[in-house]
Subunit: 258 residues, 3 copies
């Protein structure tokens, strides 16, 4: 009876830049059984160093667009080599592999009820590169069809601790979740303010798409991720306002009749 | 009767940097039929923001090296969310998907007679990310073998508007088409000038390959793309001459007996 | 009798940035026979321009993690278009393709006894892009199962010339082999010094993992590659100490009772 090939989609997200992601792919390819075919997709390896908020946002932004059964290997891991745990997680038919520091949780939560399992760190693994020595082999196990319940004990994972947007005197406090390659600043605002807002004293034009603002005009829009996004038409809002993921901002709100 | 797997090569070219290209790949993988195998090749995601000239050049440089049947998804799209049309294009056995702003046209023209079809923007698509919501699904349709004629009405696409090189008093006017990672400046000159030339007063040594110039010496050569290329042996001509794609330059030409 | 598909893993390492690696992949895909399936893995395309030491290190760091039979296409090639030879190399069940300038040798040596063969430069190939015109077709030949002994005459390849670490008055002289994306400085020290060391007068805390140093504290550790690595916990040692691959450094060693 011919064995049907198993097709695995494996995504990778790190703050590693280049080189190290390739080592993780090499390890995965070494551990794959011959009837497993793999498609690798790099989500990004440009997360600002050790910025778990930005990594978690990017993962959450990407995962819902992948087919069920995809395996998401994500490593932004300032605590590598310390006692922080290593996890495999299942949610909504997707699998996640990475450190227990909140990185995986918003993405997993956004698509279902998550179950997290702690995996062992092999004795011979390096203290500085669990992506290669712990997470890549676990990813290959999942791609080969190993049952996640058998990979370790069920645990309660750490949450990612980002405060929800809230009204403050004079405006709305929000958190910068991500800066994209255009310098667009993606916040955790799920609805846009009702009244005109400014940031650091500079008014943000409320628009439907970037091109509705003038050239180099600061704007706020409901971005493609579904969150409030501060941008500059054909410019970089991150540079103009000097912002990084994890920064708190205050959107100064005018009073208006809503 | 066993179904043979269909193999699709899908290339991607954008000015998105990271993250967003992965979302497009996720959507394509979701829409692929199970018997379609895909190989993704990223051409580049580092096109200078909204620089259609650079994007069109990179696409034209890459496409002829890919096998027939390849599908090229290209998005450099300052007009996203406005009334600019969305296209699928067939030429020389290759397929192209992207915005109707000239981006796809030089590549498609360079390999055959093109036919362009307008595709619909689904009502539920975002105003800022047609790459994910419009172009990725169309790419998957083509990979699944959908006939391009059935994807929308035949239309006449917008051309890319780049003036041809021309003689001007004192020299030759050309356009910078692309800056590569080395800082080499690729122009639209199809033949090198017959007489010695300078740029901004600095002589360019005419050589066959970079190593034929001295270290850090400015040079002009017929590059691997078949166009006149201004480079600096082990240095960056783009930095030295402060150039960007779409810039016009004047190559100051000495008189000489040809 | 059904033909079994052949699966080829092809890695790519260059100093090309983007665009040019895609042209190499296109050429490989054009030359592949229909029953050959390929998985591309980009090791890195960010090697500092023409820095053969850094390229050789990255290749050596990555190759052991890939499965036997993998084909490693590596191009850092300041001598392109000159008389330097083009090579295919076999070692430890892996294959290598690239220029004869030392780039491939440390990786090949690290996994077995190497055999190197010179391949021809086709007459019609460009003088500036052997990656596309010479090395990519040779890579496809290997992926299609061509026997390496038939690809050209056996030759003795050039070595990479990096001096071994040595005791000097006041300390240990070593070479910087690689700077990773975190700015970690990887040296060619195979064992850490026994006594406390400083670099440019700044003490380096000897630790097991980055998080064992204080925030922004310079440190030295046995890195995941097995070499002495100078780092700054949550900072960039390369910036702090102004270092590049190929630089010589002196680790100033205190006297201590070992």
């Amino acid at each position: 009876m011919p064995v049907r090939n198993r097709k695995a989609v494996i995504t990778l997200l790190t703050d590693f830049g280049s080189l190290y992601p390739a080592l993780m792919k090499g390890v995965i390819l070494q551990f794959l059984e011959s009837q497993t075919d793999v498609t690798f997709v790099d989500i990004t390896h440009d997360i600002p160093h050790q910025n778990i908020v930005a990594g978690a946002f990017a993962l959450q932004a990407a995962v819902p667009y992948f087919p069920k059964g995809s395996i998401h290997l994500a490593v932004v891991d300032p605590g590598v080599g310390t006692s922080r745990r290593c996890l495999v997680v299942e949610s909504g038919g997707h699998f996640f592999v990475g450190p227990d520091n909140g990185l995986l949780i918003p993405a997993a939560r956004s698509i279902g009820e998550l179950k997290a399992y702690e995996i062992d760190v092999p004795l011979e693994s390096s203290a500085t590169f669990h992506g290669r020595d712990v997470f890549a082999p676990a990813t290959a196990d999942l791609a080969n069809g190993k049952e996640i319940e058998k990979m370790g004990p069920l645990v309660t994972p750490m949450n990612l601790d980002v405060p929800k947007p809230r009204k403050v005197p004079g405006g709305i406090e929000a958190t910068v979740m991500y800066i994209d390659y255009f310098g667009n600043v993606i916040t955790n605002l799920e609805t846009l303010p009702n009244c005109p807002v400014s940031l650091k004293g500079i008014p943000l034009k409320r628009v439907k798409t970037y091109a509705n603002a003038d050239l180099i005009e600061p704007l706020i829009t409901k971005g493609s991720h579904g969150f409030g996004e501060i941008a500059i038409n054909q410019g970089s809002a991150a540079e103009r306002f000097s912002l990084m993921p994890k920064d708190r901002i205050i959107l100064e709100e005018e009073t208006c009749s809503e």
